[in-house]
Symmetry: C2
Subunit: 292 residues, 2 copies
């Protein structure tokens, strides 16, 4: 069992840290927000800013963006023991993830980028998917630790490959949810029932996760957020964050992603109108609104 | 066993007619192209323009577009026996499909729109999916006949519902193939391997039929057309046809389908450049070409 520092005890980070503790690891947390510290303490997690860094064998970061990760790394790289394994589970831009790897290597630390999918529910249940970028040796060290927080741990390649896999996957997700929303709205206009379209598409070439797991109309998939007034689920603001990361990466790398860019605009408009907290499948309401 | 007239003995129609004959039906075919007539006769099908209409209990049409279906119906409605069941398995626009139903009803015929998915392979193997629009009574009569040509027969609703289901499904298909292509091209630019993206996306929220059945890069799905120089499979020209039908219907009905429209433009450009005979997954090459 390892001494683990966990930095970023938010909606995702706290349940992840508690699962590590439950698995027998010696976990010390840290967060800059007093409310997060209080919640962690109440849940039985030791919180100590210095201890989370100085004494750790492994330091996990779970922060909102690349700038905050690089800011945290300034302190971590100065204060942690050489040879410490740094795992960044934040979803951040590929460029910052690569910079974090380079800075870690320069400071004689080991590093992995390991963003997750599975949301708050997966974090609490310990069923997250981790997409990991880093060397084979680092992956071998990180794998058993990540397994205490997730069900599926995929080694995607070298530095940044975890972030790359996540944004490529989530770009498909964002586009396909808009596609499914447009198809249901067109079906409505053509007098085709939701259930009939679902029965055809879910078992043929239109099948996709957005349809069969997060169906944006109530009925066909009883557990989908559409049946619960579009409460997330996966908030539209997070979908937009990931789409924007995909477009930043595409733009920096010179990749043409016309539909990725278009879907980003569609979610941007939805979020700008105050629907960031709505499940991303609620985009169907935006599509319906544009329909004559 | 029924007397069946089969009009349109092309790449799809001929194997479908032969499967009906194999099931014991008394089938008479017709096609305006001498080459199609010759192929049908060689395959052992009786071909007789008058007989396919006058004596039939059921007349099936399998034609390239709505205008040709309505032209054929002019003759069929004048010459067939009252009470004949007319099944149009062509993929055509929803408006023409509804007109065909109305004209059939006015001539005291029964009618169903029943477009298929599954392609030439499914037509030969008798494993097509039929999406059927029509009354419950008509569906009950058509079902056993269609079952001789297909594996899955879905009653989608009233007049035109089969065509509506097909174009809504195929609009999702066209958009999601572009999405998957963009994701692989972005992955290439980010140094993420095809296999790594496939492993993540095929088992998480980016999963879709375009990825897991028609994967547009060679390797992850050995049977996909990408492994066979993008030989169809499902030709880009047919994907474009279905996307255009979806956009005609959306425009007529006033439905907003922004990504459907954008995907149509992307496939239009690909087909205009001479790639209509390429599998639709070849769109990834167009995306790659636009990438710097």
């Amino acid at each position: 069992m390892a001494k683990i520092g966990f930095i970023g005890l938010g909606n995702m980070g706290l349940p992840m840290a508690l699962n590590l503790q439950k698995a027998g690891h010696d976990v010390t947390g840290h967060d800059i927000f007093p409310a997060a510290v209080e919640a962690a303490t109440s849940a039985g997690l030791r919180v100590d800013a210095a201890g989370a860094v100085h004494d750790a064998d492994i330091i996990i970061t779970m922060l909102p963006n690349g700038k905050l990760v690089l800011d945290a790394y300034q302190i971590i790289l100065a204060k942690a023991k050489p040879g410490t394994l740094l795992i960044d589970s934040s979803t951040i831009d590929v460029a910052s993830a690569r910079t974090a790897h380079e800075q870690a290597a320069a400071a004689a630390m080991l590093s992995a980028d390991a963003p997750v999918s599975g949301g708050v529910g997966g974090a609490a249940a310990g069923t997250l998917t981790f997409m990991v970028g880093g060397t084979n040796d680092v992956f071998a060290q990180a794998q058993p630790v990540l397994a205490a927080m997730g069900k599926k741990i995929v080694h995607c390649g070298g530095a940044g490959a975890g972030q790359a896999a996540k944004i490529c996957n989530n770009m498909i997700l964002g586009i396909s949810m808009v596609a499914v929303g447009e198809a249901f709205v067109l079906a409505e206009k053509l007098g085709l029932s939701h259930q009939a379209l679902y029965d055809v598409a879910s078992t043929s070439s239109g099948q996709c996760w957005s349809l069969t797991s997060y169906c944006p109309v109530p009925g066909p998939v009883p557990a989908s957020p559409a049946n619960n007034d579009y409460k997330p689920g996966f908030a539209a603001a997070l979908m937009l964050k990931d789409l924007k990361l995909s477009q930043e990466a595409a733009s920096a790398a010179g990749a043409s992603t016309a539909l990725g860019s278009h879907a980003t605009e569609i979610f941007q408009e939805f979020v700008s109108e105050g629907h960031g907290g709505t499940d991303f499948s609620g985009i169907i309401n935006k599509i319906r609104e544009k329909t004559a």
